[in-house]
């Protein structure tokens, strides 16, 4: 344990990241550049989220890490172990017990509270990236609020599929100013982003941090005649029977049998325990 500085990063680096986080909170949805460090994991595995978590953690914190809602998948297990080893903080799988939750691609089903921080892992922070490849141009579009192009993408969805088919990383407008990529969470989770907890987004490879302060207005973009819809599989969880949670579809055998289960493992387990 003493071989590492608390939470792996050195104090100067953590200060630098905290400054970026504070700026991000002051300007909700704005992508703050930061000097992302090399982390002992490959890009795409949550290097940004890990750095934000490292800068946020205190020795008293209790950490929860989820990957697609699950506590027991490779990415979640490795990152949890990483902080157990380098920070010595307590960890948990219970959403309501955690003070810092690092997540990849989901928001927990249980409602978060004011004393919690949700840290997202972000692969590509720029919502306009696939429409406009030039960084100079996308920055200008953000600064001048030229967001018409974002709707071109939604238009293309409707013209090709008859409905807005973007199902994850669904663009939102934060505090009526910046258009933001909510990281690849399913659009089912978009309405939850107006929450009591602090939301921090870290993109390690792209070297950007952005944030949504508590109780900030987060609006999913849409058309007047094609309003935003938070969709999920039309099914109940086959394990706990929940009808209000986001479901994973699991293929059971070669004959195509499938079952639907909650993607949030903690939510599913606690419901089953309560029922038992």
């Amino acid at each position: 344990m003493s071989d590492y500085n608390f939470a792996y990063l050195d104090e100067q680096t953590k200060r630098m990241i905290r400054r970026a986080i504070l700026k991000g909170l002051a300007v909700p949805g704005y992508q703050v550049p930061f000097a992302s460090r090399e982390m002992p994991m490959p890009y795409g595995w949550g290097t940004g989220g890990v750095q934000v978590s490292a800068a946020t953690l205190t020795p008293e914190d209790r950490l929860k890490v989820i990957d697609q809602g699950a506590d027991d998948t490779t990415n979640a297990v490795s990152i949890r172990k990483f902080f157990e080893r380098t920070a010595g903080v307590a960890t948990t799988e219970m959403t309501q017990d955690a003070t810092v939750i690092q997540t990849r691609h989901r928001i927990p089903e249980a409602e978060l509270t004011e004393d919690q921080i949700l840290v997202y892992q972000v692969p590509i922070p720029e919502p306009l990236r696939f429409l406009e490849p030039r960084e100079t141009e996308t920055r200008k579009m953000h600064s001048l609020q030229e967001y018409g192009l974002m709707h071109v993408k939604l238009y293309e969805d409707i013209s090709q599929h008859g409905a807005i088919s973007t199902a994850y990383a669904y663009p939102v407008r934060v505090a009526e100013r910046y258009v933001m990529d909510p990281s690849p969470i399913p659009k089912f989770d978009n309405p939850k982003m107006e929450m009591a907890a602090i939301q921090l987004f870290g993109a390690g490879r792209e070297q950007r941090i952005y944030a949504v302060p508590p109780y900030t207005r987060v609006v999913s973009l849409d058309f007047e005649d094609y309003p935003f819809e938070a969709t999920k599989a039309d099914h109940a969880c086959d394990l706990c029977g929940a009808e209000d949670s986001y479901l994973d579809e699991v293929i059971m055998d070669d004959a195509g049998t499938r079952m639907f289960v909650c993607s949030d493992t903690d939510y599913c387990r606690s419901r089953r325990e309560a029922a038992a």
Binding site: L131, H151, V152, Q160, D222, F223
Partner: protein, 256 residues
Amino acid sequence: MSPLLRVAGIEKRYGARIGCTDVSFDLYPGEVMGIVGESGSGKSTLLNCLAGHLAPDAGQVIFDTRHMGPVDTVTMSEPERRMLSRTDWAFVHQHARDGLRMSVSAGGNIGERLMAVGDRHYGRIRAAALDWLDRVEIDGARIDDRPSAFSGGMQQRLQIARNLVTGPRLVFMDEPTGGLDVSVQARLLDLLRGLVRRMGLSAIIVTHDLAVVRLLADRLMVMKDGRVVESGLTDQVLDDPQHGYTQLLVSSVLQV
């Protein structure tokens, strides 16, 4: 009637070299101005200065805006200029790929300007796109095809539709018929002439093709080495060229 665009003493230098210098003219509503000259004569530089793509080193470009009256677009703030360039102005590039989003469907290309000025109704945007495809003689069934599946002439017509959908008052065109074969050129010119007349557009057309200005332009400016050497009514300049260079230009046109 007050001019729509008043250009005074525009100069652009590339280091010691002159891009264009001392260009002044007035453009009235509904008027089409042609700028001709050989390659390197500064006509594209001039057009880019007028359209706000390049910052001129000297001079004024005063545009009669809808809400604020005549404003110098050179000194106006960038957000205002960018707003102008997607509402009251249009720019038709020589190569359609420069003016189109090649990975977005034809309908999306036309709708982009509408969405950029705040239209958020899919049905209305779609209807406008269909209407404009029809106006530029592209089959409405191609609305969901990407421009990469279009021929060169269709791409150019799509670019025009995409530009005119917000009802601009001033259109800048840089060699709109360049690189197209003659029959496609003729059809495009016919279309442009119809649109300009019907919508009462003002236009500035840069070209090296004298036939294009003969068909479209009311007035003509001849440029050489960054300067305007002759200007006047199109027929007058082409039929009775005064300057030596203009005479050379007119006599260089191949007769069939």
